[in-house]
Subunit: 457 residues, 2 copies
C-alpha cells in the first residue's frame, strides 16, 4: 500500500518560487549585516540538552524538541520515572540532545567555547533555522528561520544606535515602509517596579498598561487593581497612563515619574542617548518609538529592548532584540555584555507577500530551451548548450524526443523566453532557428547571434 | 556552577572563515545547478517517521535520528514494549518525527505531494543538511550537507550525459583537478549475477572483485570461492578479472561476457551511449571511468550508478548518484523515472582545504575601521560610516573610546585594510586622517577622497 505523503504540522515545503523569494530576503539581510561589519558563524542544529534546558523558562523547556538517544536507549532509562510513567522525569535519561530553540543561547555557548580564537568586540551574524514545539498558527511555525546579529564585548550605546540603523536599512532595502521600531529599556521597567513598590507585579503592570489603547485609562486601572497593585502605587505612575506624544516629551515625563529611582533615571538617560543620536543621524523609512509597555524577554535583557512591527500588515513582531549584560556567564565567561537583534524571516516573508513586494525577484530559470528532435540533433544541441553555459547562459535540452507541442508547452509552462529548434537542415548548415516565446518572432542564426540574442535578453 | 560548554559529537561549529569558505562552495554548486536549468526546493528538517523508516534498509533505520514526542509522550507508549524495556519496539509509539537522513526520499515525497503543481520533467536542486547517528570519523559527521540535483519524469540517457558534465563543471570551477567520475550500470550487475547464476552472491562478488588491485587475481578467486561462488561461475566471468584499459575496450569485453544476458547487454548499451557522448562533448578536468565493481545503492538504483573520488586526496567518495526507476512508487506515484547526483559538501571542503584551494576566498570584513575618540568624534564617524555603507563600503566604528593602541590592535587582528582617525582638528575641518594599514601611509583627506580610496582598494 502506498503511503499518502504528508509533512509534520507546523513545517513547510518550499517551492522553487518560495525558495527564491526567501533567498532574496536572506541576501538583503546578509549584505546589510556584512556592510555593518558582522561576520557569519554557524552552530549545529542540535545541542547537548544541558546547553539549552533551563535557559528559556519552563514554557521554553516544554517547547524544545528533544532527540531520542540512539540504540537501546531504555537500558539507561530512569527506572523510577519509567515505572511511574512520568514523561517529564524520564526525558533527560533517554534524550541527551535537543534541537536549537533560538540562536542566542548557542551563540553564547560558541563565544565561551571559542573565546581564545575570538577578537572582542565580536560582531557575529547567524541565519539558521530554529525549532519550537509550539501550536502552529499564522506566522508561527515549528521550523522557522532567525537572522541574528549580535556584538559581545562592549557596553557602548553606539551599538544600540547602529542596530536601529540596521533595522531601518534592511526594511528599507526590502521595500517595507513605515516599520515601527519600538524601543524600551529594562532599567525603565525596573524603575517603574521600584516606584510602584512591587517588582513581582511588573509583568501584570506592563500587560495592563499595554491595553491602554483598547480598554482606556479606567479599564487599565481596574485591571491593575484586580492584579493587586495598590491605589497608591497607581497614583504614583498615573502620568504613565497619559504618556503620549513624541519620544522627547515622553522621555521628559519619564524623568519626572522615575525621579526617585536611580536605575530608572539611568534607563531614561540611555534611551535619550539612543533616541537623540538616531534622530540626528536620520532613518530612511522606519520610525523609532519609545514604548514603555515593551517588556519582551524580561528575564533576559538588562538594557535596551527592541521590537519591530510592520505598520501596514497585521502580523506579530517581525524582529526583536536587546542588550543582555551577562549571557555568557552561565557558561563560565563573566562580564561580557552583549546586544543583538533578530529578524523573523518567515514573518517578513508573509508581510512582503501580502504587500506584493516580490515582483522584482526573478525565478532562476533557463533562458533558452533546446527542442529535442532526435539523437543527432540532440548531440548538436548539447554541444551548443555547453558553449552557452560557459558563457553563463542558463540553458537546457528537453531530454526526450517528444512531440513538438509537448516540448513547446513545457517551455511555456516554465515561462522560458527562448526556444531553439534544430532539425536536419539547421544541423547541416550549422545554424539555429531561434524563437522568441514572448513576441513569437522566429529567425535563423549562427552561434554568435544566438549567444548575443539570449545573453542580452 | 557554570557549565563547561561543548557540542554533541559528530557536530561542528563553523567560524567566520569556515562559513565563508563553505558558502563559496555552495555558491559554485548553486550557480552550476541553475546554469543547467535546475530549480531550488527545500523540505522540512524533520519528516513524519513513516516517510523515512524502511527506505534506507535496516542499517539506515538505526541511523535515523528520532524526535521524542512533546508533552506526556508516555501516555501513548506501547505498554508491552515499555514493560519489556524493548527500545526498538517502543520507539514508534513515543516518536512520530525524525530528522532528514538524505535529500532523495524527501524529494520523492515532495514530488508526489506536489505533483499537480509540478511541470515534468522536473529538474530540482536542494542543498540542505542531513543527519545520521553514524560513528564520527574523518569526513563523516552526524550533521552534514548534501547538495543534490535530480530530474524526474524522463528516461532519457542525455541526462546521464549532462550529469557527468555537471560534475566536471563544478569540480573544475572549484579548482579541483583530476577528479575521477566512476560510472557503472545496475543492469551490468544484474547481468553478472545472471551469468554467475546467483543473484544473492552479487554483493560478495563485487566486494571481492573490488579488491583486485590489492590482493590480485588469485586472491580474488580465493575469496569468491570462500563466499560459495562456484568454480564454474568464476570461469564464466574470468575476463572480468582482467578487465583493464580504457572504457571502450572494457565495454567490448563486457559485451562478450554478458552475451547471454539481455539485461546485461542493455546495461552495456546504456553505458556506451553515455561514455561515447561524454567523450565527444569533452570534459574539462575530470575523467569518466567505467568501474564494474561500483555497486553503491544496489537496492535503489536501476540504471546508471555514479561515484566521484578526488584523485589527489585520500578521502571517501565526494559525490555519488544514479538512476532510480520507481522512487516515487512507494508514495503512490508510479512510472516516474528519476536520476540524480549528490555533492558531499563537507568532504569537498576537506579536500579543498588539504589542497589549499581556498586562497581566493575572501572573508567578509570591514574595509575600514573608524577609531573612537569620544562622543562628538564618534557621532561624526557614524555620519560618515552611514554614507560609506550607502556606497556599499563595509565599515565600522570601534564601539568604545578605548586606548588607541587597543583599537589599532583590533584593526590588525581583524586584518582591516584602512583605519580612519578623527580627532578634534579633523572634526573642525570636516576632514579625515586615513591610514593604510598595509603600507603604513597616512594622509588627510575629505569624504570624496576617502570614499574613492577605500572603495577601490
Amino acid at each position: 500500500m502506498a503511503q499518502k505523503p504528508s509533512i509534520p504540522k507546523g513545517t513547510r515545503d518550499f517551492s522553487p518560487t518560495e525558495v527564491t523569494q526567501r533567498n532574496y530576503i536572506f541576501n538583503v539581510i546578509k549584505e546589510a549585516f556584512e556592510n555593518y561589519g558582522f561576520q557569519p558563524i554557524e552552530t549545529p542544529s542540535f545541542e547537548n540538552s544541558s546547553t539549552l534546558m533551563g535557559k528559556y523558562g519552563e514554557e521554553g523547556d516544554r517547547l524544545i524538541f528533544k532527540i531520542l538517544n540512539s540504540g537501546d536507549y531504555l537500558s539507561k532509562a530512569n527506572e523510577t520515572a519509567l515505572n511511574e510513567k512520568n514523561s517529564n522525569a524520564l526525558t533527560a535519561s533517554i534524550s541527551e540532545k535537543a534541537l536549537r530553540y533560538d540562536l542566542t543561547v548557542p551563540f553564547a555557548r560558541y563565544v565561551v567555547q571559542h573565546q581564545n580564537e575570538i577578537e572582542f568586540p565580536f560582531k557575529r551574524y547567524q541565519m539558521q533555522p530554529v525549532w519550537r514545539a509550539d501550536r502552529p498558527q499564522k506566522g508561527r511555525f515549528r521550523e522557522f528561520y532567525q537572522c541574528d546579529a549580535d556584538v559581545v564585548g562592549s557596553t557602548s550605546l553606539w551599538q544600540e544606535v547602529e542596530f536601529v540603523q540596521l533595522y531601518d536599512d534592511i526594511f528599507t532595502k526590502l521595500g517595507l515602509k513605515e516599520t515601527i521600531i519600538k524601543i524600551n529599556n529594562r532599567k525603565i521597567l525596573s524603575g517603574i517596579a521600584e516606584v510602584i513598590g512591587a517588582s513581582d507585579k511588573l509583568i501584570d503592570f506592563t500587560v495592563a498598561l499595554d491595553k491602554l489603547d483598547k480598554i482606556g485609562k479606567d479599564g487599565v486601572i481596574k485591571e491593575m487593581l484586580g492584579k493587586g497593585i495598590t491605589e497608591e502605587a497607581i497614583k504614583k505612575v498615573a502620568p504613565l497612563l497619559q504618556l503620549q506624544g513624541d519620544n522627547d516629551s515622553m522621555l521628559k515625563e519619564l524623568k519626572v515619574i522615575l525621579k526617585d529611582s536611580d536605575q530608572g533615571l539611568q534607563g531614561v538617560s540611555e534611551l535619550a542617548f539612543v533616541i537623540n543620536n538616531v534622530a540626528k543621524l536620520g532613518l530612511n523609512t522606519s520610525s523609532l518609538k519609545l514604548d514603555v509597555t515593551l517588556a519582551r524577554g524580561l528575564n533576559y535583557y538588562t538594557g535596551a529592548i527592541f521590537e519591530v512591527a510592520a505598520a501596514q500588515v497585521k502580523m506579530g513582531s517581525i524582529g526583536g532584540g536587546g542588550r543582555y549584560d551577562d549571557l555568557t556567564g552561565i557558561f563560565g565567561l563573566k562580564n561580557m555584555s552583549g546586544i543583538g537583534i533578530s529578524f523573523g524571516l518567515d514573518r517578513i516573508y508573509l508581510v512582503l507577500e501580502e504587500l506584493g513586494l516580490f515582483q522584482k525577484v526573478e525565478l532562476p530559470k533557463p533562458k533558452v530551451l533546446f527542442i529535442n528532435f532526435g539523437e543527432n540533433e540532440a548531440f548538436y544541441c548539447l554541444e551548443t548548450i555547453k558553449k552557452l553555459r560557459e558563457n553563463d547562459v542558463k540553458s537546457e535540452l528537453y531530454p526526450d524526443n517528444a512531440k513538438l507541442k509537448k516540448q513547446m508547452n513545457y517551455a511555456n509552462k516554465r515561462d522560458i523566453n527562448f526556444v531553439v529548434l534544430v532539425g536536419e537542415s539547421e544541423l547541416n548548415e550549422s545554424k539555429y532557428t531561434l524563437k522568441n516565446m514572448k513576441s513569437g518572432d522566429q529567425s535563423s542564426c549562427n552561434f554568435e547571434t544566438l549567444l548575443k540574442a539570449v545573453k542580452n535578453s
